[in-house]
């Protein structure tokens, strides 16, 4: 059972991080802490993408002074690059929304920010 656990350790880490991020997003009341939970879930998804493209005893897919052996899959790493940049853009916009909400309402408690108009 433990050897099975050690064999797929990156995927178990991904599951733990997703559940932790979801718990933070659903149970905190401060807006900035909810955004931290979202960032945790995005990191977990990036780790999952990179862990999918690994072969046993492989090296990075770069030909400059490469040691012998099979190479890891390069397409998945390109997908992860795009995903990280989109995560940065989303976090920047959400944080600026949080700042403007605080300036208007005077509080960062989401149970007090309920008015849809005005």
């Amino acid at each position: 059972m433990t050897s099975r656990l050690l064999l797929a350790l990156p995927f178990f880490t991904v599951v733990v991080l997703i559940v932790l991020g979801l718990a933070v997003m659903l149970s905190k009341r401060n807006v900035v802490k909810i955004l931290m939970g979202l960032s945790l879930m995005e990191s977990a998804v990036n780790l999952f993408l990179v862990a999918t493209g690994y072969r046993h005893d492989s090296v990075a897919p770069i030909y400059t002074n490469v040691p012998a052996g099979p190479m890891a899959l390069p397409t998945v790493q390109a997908l992860t690059l795009t995903s990280i940049v989109i995560g940065v853009a989303t976090s920047a916009m959400l944080l600026s929304f949080a700042m403007v909400i605080y300036r208007k309402y005077g509080t960062t408690d989401i149970q007090k920010i309920k008015k849809l108009k005005g």
Binding site: A60, I62, Y63, T64, N65, V66, L81, I84, V85, V88, A92, L95, S96, M99, V100, R103
Partner: protein
């Protein structure tokens, strides 16, 4: 209140090294791990170091918002023009026409593992440079806008 003199001097000392290392990562994007987005993020980290160590009014004398906006727009324009130049050379949009029959960056490389040569890979160093400049400008402009938002609130 200000940061101590040691912090401000160390940040001033580190800033050019961060820029040089970021440019190294951008320019060698087709030989070593790295490229446009990673090198641009390293350069923006150097700028953020300067923003953390000094007050807002000290920094905007050196890193102006207008200059960073020009950097960002110029980066995206370089990317688009390099893409359209493939159309003028008679090949599809954003095709790597320099690697076949252009003048710059056209040394062919041997197959298999080799020590890298900077003079290869056609259109790729140009695209890397454009994206690096755009990420530096974009992240710095985001940081400057957020800092000016805090300052205006404190003034009220």
């Amino acid at each position: 209140m200000k940061m101590t003199k040691i912090v401000r001097t160390t940040a001033d000392l580190f800033f050019p090294f961060c820029l040089v290392f970021g440019l190294y990562v951008v320019v060698h994007g087709h030989l070593t791990p790295g490229g446009g987005f990673q090198g641009g993020a390293v350069m923006a980290t150097g700028t953020a170091l300067l923003l953390v160590a000094r007050a807002y009014d000290d920094v905007t004398g050196r890193i102006r918002k207008g200059a960073m906006k020009v950097c960002e727009a110029a980066g995206l324009l370089i990317f688009l023009c390099a893409g359209f130049s493939g159309l003028f050379a008679g090949r599809p949009f954003m095709a790597n026409w320099i690697a076949r029959d252009g003048a710059l960056f056209r040394t062919a490389i041997a197959h298999g593992p080799n020590a890298g040569d900077l003079n290869t890979a056609g259109l790729l160093p140009l695209l890397n440079f454009g994206v690096g400049i755009e990420v530096l400008g974009g992240l710095t402009v985001i940081l400057l806008y957020m800092l000016s938002g805090i300052k205006e609130e404190k003034k009220k």
